[in-house]
């Protein structure tokens, strides 16, 4: 095993992110090859968290762009501060008469509102981690625009000229696969798929993230969640949910799983009405037996 990958894995784990080797390898390769990392996987497996931990391990800023339907280049890149520009224009009109000078005055950097992409490019104190979250929610037009930004790491503001990145940011893109990410963008990235964690990994994550949780109870919780994931559910609980659940149980001073404690806290794990209905007493009892086994 490559020493640097091992070190990265250890550093991530120290920071509370239990990463399999495949995850550490992907992060290492993305960093070394200066390529964006496209991360896919079910909701709650820790895709966003991965970007956060990278920024902590590399001791740099995390800049996040949350995608949504209708997100356009303006919102992602930059916007002019029109109110200030108008105000400045009014004041300047009295003394400046040369239109060119006027234009230069109001289209200066100080009237530019930097949005995440531009901020990631212009950051001067080292390369930041740029997280482009839930890319599948944005329209594919935005994807094409992103392709351009991610290939050259430069942005052209018509009034200012071209701004080039001082440091190439570490880019992490996440997708929940509600829409297929275009081939062109996919090809430009390295690809990581995060699966639901194994039992041991989940126990370690719970132990790392939930203070006051002992090994035995963590294992019981993890076994319960793992058994639950094998059921036909519409929204599988991710690690995020099992952490929430473990926290809730600890908070309620419950130190063992029984039908009552599961019943009152099941909402932490299952966030779909139908799933909740179908996980009735009988199912819970069955899951409890499996959680208690061995």
């Amino acid at each position: 095993m490559n020493e640097e990958i091992r070190a990265l894995q250890a550093a991530m784990e120290r920071d509370g992110y239990v990463a399999e080797r495949s995850i550490a390898t992907a992060v290492y390769l993305a960093k070394e090859l200066s390529k964006p990392l496209l991360v896919e996987g079910d909701a709650g497996v820790g895709k966003t968290e991965l970007a956060k931990v990278i920024s902590r391990v590399l001791e740099t800023e995390l800049i996040r762009l949350q995608c949504y339907e209708g997100l356009d280049a303006n919102t992602a890149l930059y916007e002019w501060n029109y109110q200030r520009q108008l105000l400045r224009l009014r004041i300047a009109e009295r003394e400046v008469h040369d239109p060119k000078a006027l234009e230069e005055l109001i289209f200066g950097r100080e009237y530019l509102l930097e949005r995440p992409l531009l901020r990631a490019i212009t950051r001067s104190a080292g390369a930041p981690v740029l997280l482009i979250d839930e890319l599948d929610r944005a329209d594919d037009g935005f994807e094409a625009f992103l392709l351009e930004v991610l290939s050259d790491f430069q942005v052209t503001v018509p009034e200012l000229g071209t701004i080039k990145a001082e440091h190439t940011p570490y880019v992490v893109l996440t997708s929940n696969r509600t829409r297929e990410i275009g081939d062109a963008l996919r090809r430009r990235c390295l690809y990581l798929y995060i699966e639901h964690p194994s039992l041991d990994k989940e126990v370690r994550i719970l132990r790392g993230r939930v203070p006051g949780l002992d090994e035995h109870f963590a294992r019981t919780i993890a076994r319960f969640v793992q058994a639950l994931r094998l059921r036909e559910l519409r929204k599988l609980p991710g690690v995020a949910e099992s952490i929430d659940w473990a926290r809730a149980l600890v908070r309620l001073h419950l130190d063992r799983l029984d039908e009552e404690s599961v019943r009152v806290t099941l909402g932490c794990l299952l966030k779909d009405e139908q799933d909740l209905k179908e996980t009735d007493e009988q199912v819970v009892a069955e899951l409890l037996t499996r959680a208690a086994a061995n």
Binding site: L89, R90, P99, D139
Partner: protein
């Protein structure tokens, strides 16, 4: 990998070559992971990738890899013939019977297909009419804002720009409105024996969709689900018909709608989104599990923008949707329409506008 259907481009190969020196080459699993990441192997293809990896670099127990099937060879018993005015599907030779479940027997395959009553010219006419229809079925407004000369939200950036010409007086406000979006359509059509008389309309519809809209996916289903989008390419109708019947297993056999739809939901989640209109063409006569069907329908209903079920049997006034499959699916269908002829499809389009 390409031979086994995993798409790998030259740039992926370059990435793989760049990644290999960075990993520990004596560590088998690290090489495997590194290659998987650099070659961007999608999750669905991991199993195949692992097998190819093991076979290529030896070591692991050999698992024979089935060769990529050549669909045209599989259906040797059927032949398409062009007799000058129409396409005919004809049996070339006897084929031994494969099973004794009536709905699934290969003899069903040998029945004449209804395309043989449709001429090229007719197909063209129908296509033209359907093209208009298809466009209307699927258009919608995006949330993205684009400049407009009529009503809309004020676009400050452009307003300010134009105000500069008049010393900062905003004499005219530029506006933005929601863009007209390019729609997505997924068409799933039933090719079971009971649907035979109607197949020509479905196919014409599929071709029309392809012409009207760029992003169309077409699936045929009976006892299995087959993605046939590539066979329904515009401008190659003759070849398409031929390839289609050849590449869809169990054409004119029985149906397991539930199983096929469930397979569609789990294998192609990325094809259905908020901008997708899903059209299912089937009579709802299901041989499979209706609970499975209901589950798949619900998932589709939640994800898609609109779910349309075209049931040719509805054209018959005496028909009530009482088939178990149809009943299970009904609660999740946005529009249930006959779709056995052009007129019924036009009625559907009117209903939606």
């Amino acid at each position: 990998m390409r031979e086994h259907g995993i798409r790998v481009s030259l740039s992926d190969e370059i990435d793989a070559a760049a990644a290999l020196p960075l990993v520990d080459l004596f560590d088998r699993s690290e090489v495997r992971t590194g290659l998987r990441i650099a070659l961007k192997v999608p999750h669905e293809a991991w199993a195949m990738f692992d097998r190819l990896f093991d076979e290529y670099w030896g070591g692991a127990p050999e698992v024979p890899i089935p060769p990529a099937s050549n669909p045209t060879e599989r259906r040797g018993a059927l032949q398409w013939r062009w007799d000058g005015t129409r396409v005919r599907l004809e049996a070339q030779s006897e084929q031994p019977s494969g099973g004794d479940v009536p709905g699934y027997s290969p003899e069903q395959l040998l029945r004449r297909k209804p395309f043989d009553r449709i001429s090229e010219k007719e197909l063209k006419n129908i296509e033209r009419l359907l093209t208009r229809l298809a466009r209307r079925l699927a258009t919608r407004r995006s949330r993205r804002l684009v400049p407009t000369s009529s009503r809309g939200l004020v676009d400050l950036r452009r307003s300010f720009r134009s105000a500069l010409g008049s010393h900062g007086e905003m004499l005219r406000l530029a506006r933005r409105a929601r863009a007209l979006e390019e729609p997505r359509v997924v068409l799933l059509f039933d090719t079971s024996g009971s649907m035979d008389p109607h197949t020509r309309f479905h196919l014409a519809f599929a071709f029309a969709l392809r012409r009207a809209i760029r992003r169309v996916e077409v699936f045929a289903f009976n006892t299995t689900l087959t993605r046939v989008s590539r066979d329904i390419a515009p401008g190659r109708i003759l070849r398409s018909l031929e390839e289609l019947a050849a590449s869809v297993p169990d054409w004119s056999g029985g149906t397991r709608i539930g199983q096929c739809l469930a397979q569609f939901v789990s294998a192609y989640p990325h094809l259905v989104g908020r901008d997708t209109t899903v059209v299912i063409v089937s009579d709802g006569l299901d041989l499979g599990d209706t609970a499975l069907l209901a589950g798949a329908m619900r998932a589709l209903h939640e994800r898609a923008r609109r779910l349309i079920w075209l049931n040719p049997l509805l054209g018959d006034v005496r028909y009530e949707p009482t088939a178990a499959g149809m009943r299970a699916a009904l609660p999740y269908v946005d529009h249930l329409a006959p779709g056995h002829d052009l007129e019924s499809l036009e009625r559907l389009a009117r209903l939606m506008n």
